[in-house]
């Protein structure tokens, strides 16, 4: 099964937006847990077709921001507009139905299921045959299963994980689990893909592979990506624009070069490069 993946097969065309238009807009969002302010008055946007990085020190509110975007948390203040529709409170499955998929900081795969089933799980929303057809596993239900299997196999080819297709994911090494999780999110053919530290805990080679996959997803499928990542080398290399959070507030926003030059960002997070002082 070495045929090339046809980008049109996996692309998400449903949003009808041209590249560069605003896909998601976060406006004045604040999120509190009791007295703890996780996010304070944050606004930024994500444009169709870009790779948008969210960076910041630990506890800055990055993951909380993703949780707000896909409906796990409901912010006390502010609005989120996705594909031109403003929404206040939304359940995670509704967010999924509207075209937002994500991966998790700590791999959240379905451990008892195989790689194939995990990625098939990502296609839950693409499958509609009712209970009675499911009971028979025949006719329309079987055709639907096979049509979705074909999509899943394209993703498996794309991520080069054919050899682990039938292995329960609990037995896979960490790097591959991360890749399967990316596959599961891609299977939903999202218009916005949220990646929460896709390279955490990886070695250099795995990071390079993952960076390549992210760039390929973005260029081949046209998927808009928002990612949280701590590896500044990766972030500055692959992202189009970066938003920087610190203590729940936005302290910087712009292209990687602008962010690198921003004094607030340097103080809070990036620090001063030691390369200037020569190798120690």
């Amino acid at each position: 099964m070495n045929r090339a993946v046809d980008p049109r097969d996996l692309a998400m065309d449903g949003d009808g937006l041209a590249k560069g238009e605003v896909l998601l807009e976060v406006k004045n969002v604040s999120l509190r847990f009791g007295g703890v302010k996780a996010i304070t008055d944050i606004s930024f946007d994500i444009r169709k077709g870009e790779i948008r990085a969210i960076i910041g020190p630990n506890g800055a509110g990055k993951t909380s921001m993703l949780n707000v975007i896909n409906g796990f948390y409901t912010p006390q203040e502010g609005t989120i507009t996705f594909r031109g529709e403003e929404r206040k409170k939304i359940a995670p499955y509704q967010a999924a139905a509207s075209g937002i998929a994500r991966t998790f900081q700590n791999v959240a795969l379905f451990k008892g299921m195989t790689t194939l089933d995990n990625i098939m799980a990502g296609r839950t929303l693409a499958m509609h045959r009712n209970f009675l057809w499911q009971l028979l596993y025949f006719g329309p239900a079987l055709n639907e299963e096979i049509a979705n299997r074909r999509k899943v196999e394209e993703i498996i080819d794309f991520l080069e994980i054919q050899h682990i297709r039938k292995v329960p994911v609990g037995r896979l090494p960490y790097g591959l689990q991360k890749r399967v999780e990316l596959g599961r999110a891609l299977a939903a053919q999202p218009s916005l893909l949220l990646l929460d530290e896709p390279m955490a805990g990886m070695n250099l080679e795995e990071k390079e592979d993952m960076s390549r996959f992210i760039l390929d997803v973005n260029s081949q499928f046209g998927t808009t990506i928002a990612l949280i990542e701590h590896d500044m080398g990766v972030v500055m290399d692959i992202s189009d624009r970066v938003v920087v959070l610190d203590y729940g507030r936005k302290i910087g926003d712009g292209t990687p070069d602008e962010v690198k030059a921003n004094q607030d960002v340097i103080d809070a997070y990036l620090g001063v490069s030691h390369q200037d002082e020569g190798e120690g």
């Binding site: 999924a96 959240a108 379905f110 028979l136 596993y137």
Partner: protein
């Protein structure tokens, strides 16, 4: 040597997705079905059919029911006995109100009542998990036991307080009641168990089964893939209780013949739970292993010593059997926490690479 999949290439996804992709497995299943259908009824005596084969099949179905809920959907339940009782009493009422309708239709319908009961008592699962959920299903168990004792309408105001199965015929053959022979009963039970096992397997390998496993393995991620926990959990409760209800109805109509409320006590719930755990949670073949282990082994242990000429008092045999079974359960769970199904799987993997230790 004989158990190899080498050379068995799949060229379509349909072929790859079949239940038994390996030819030898298909042959094995065909042989087992042939033995169950065409050999057992003609070889086995009446005791084997009535006391071993029939209850084994029925309890295996109940175990499948519990396994759908606990093994596949991850919702712990102690209400199995209660749901089986709902099926049994529903079937009894249906059979006495509409005696002309074929009994198989009553059996299959009675599961729907159990499914409805399961959905109602499954509602807490939307907020409660794990052991706490088990406690709320325990409430279902006690509630239904209370109903079976306190609502005389359920047992048609019988003076004994028990339900007594009327003699019903299917295609001219008496299949229930005291006059029914063991072979017709066996065939009806076997047919229903095979049918429902196939249907459940289809559910499990499709979208709905995947949703259950998603909820079991990582409910947060499942929601993010578009699974609605409400539907996924309640459908698991419904299907599980349906199977338990059908098993309960068959338990009374084809095995016990008459039942008091105590037949569906918490003891039965635990028995089925042990079958599911020992057989292997999340495995259909494990349900049959577990049911065989818990149901058949004690009978063999009791019948064994007299057969080989060791005189042993019936009471002593019962006590010794309980001790041995208890010890075996503990030993098995220490050796293989994933149950007999996992042992079976390991055995098959070893056989594939034999004579080498690994591939």
């Amino acid at each position: 040597m004989f158990y190899r999949e080498a050379g068995q290439f799949k060229t379509t996804y349909a072929a790859d997705q079949q239940v038994f992709p390996i030819l030898q497995d298909r042959i094995g299943v065909a042989v087992i079905l042939f033995i169950a259908i065409a050999v057992v009824p003609f070889v086995a005596n009446d005791f084997f059919m009535s006391a071993i084969a029939i209850p084994f099949l029925i309890l295996a179905l109940a175990t499948i029911g519990l396994n759908v809920l606990t093994g596949y959907a991850g919702q712990l339940s102690l209400g199995t006995g209660g749901f089986m009782g709902v099926g049994a009493y529903a079937c009894y009422k249906l059979a006495t109100i509409f005696p002309d309708v074929p009994i198989v239709a009553h059996i299959l319908l009675s599961g729907i009542f159990a499914a409805a009961a399961g959905v109602v008592f499954g509602l807490p699962s939307l907020r409660i998990k794990g052991l706490y959920l088990a406690v709320t299903t325990l409430a279902a168990q006690f509630f239904f036991e209370w109903c079976f004792i306190r609502i005389p309408w359920l047992y048609n105001y019988n003076a004994s307080g028990a339900i007594e199965v009327p003699g019903l015929t299917l295609l001219g053959v008496t299949v229930t009641g005291p006059a029914a022979g063991s072979i017709p009963r066996y065939y009806v039970v076997l047919a229903i168990v095979i049918l429902l096992t196939v249907l459940v397997k289809n559910l499990l390998r499709g979208r709905i089964g995947r949703q259950w496993m998603m909820i079991r393995d990582m409910d947060i991620a499942a929601e993010l893939m578009g699974v609605r926990p409400l539907y996924a959990k309640l459908s698991a409760f419904a299907v599980s209780s349906y199977l338990c209800g059908v098993a309960g109805a068959m338990f009374v109509f084809f095995y016990l013949g008459a039942a008091e409320p105590s037949a569906f006590s918490i003891t039965l719930s635990f028995q089925v739970l042990f079958m599911a755990i020992l057989g292997g949670l999340g495995s259909l073949v494990g349900c049959f292993f577990g049911a065989a282990f818990i149901w058949i082994l004690p009978i063999l242990l009791r019948a064994g010593p007299p057969m080989i000429g060791i005189p042993i008092a019936a009471e002593t045999a019962t006590h010794v059997t309980s001790m041995i079974i208890g010890a075996l359960i503990v030993a098995f769970l220490i050796l293989e926490p994933h149950g007999l199904a996992r042992l079976w799987q390991i055995g098959k993997e070893k056989l594939r690479v034999w004579p080498f230790p690994y591939a």
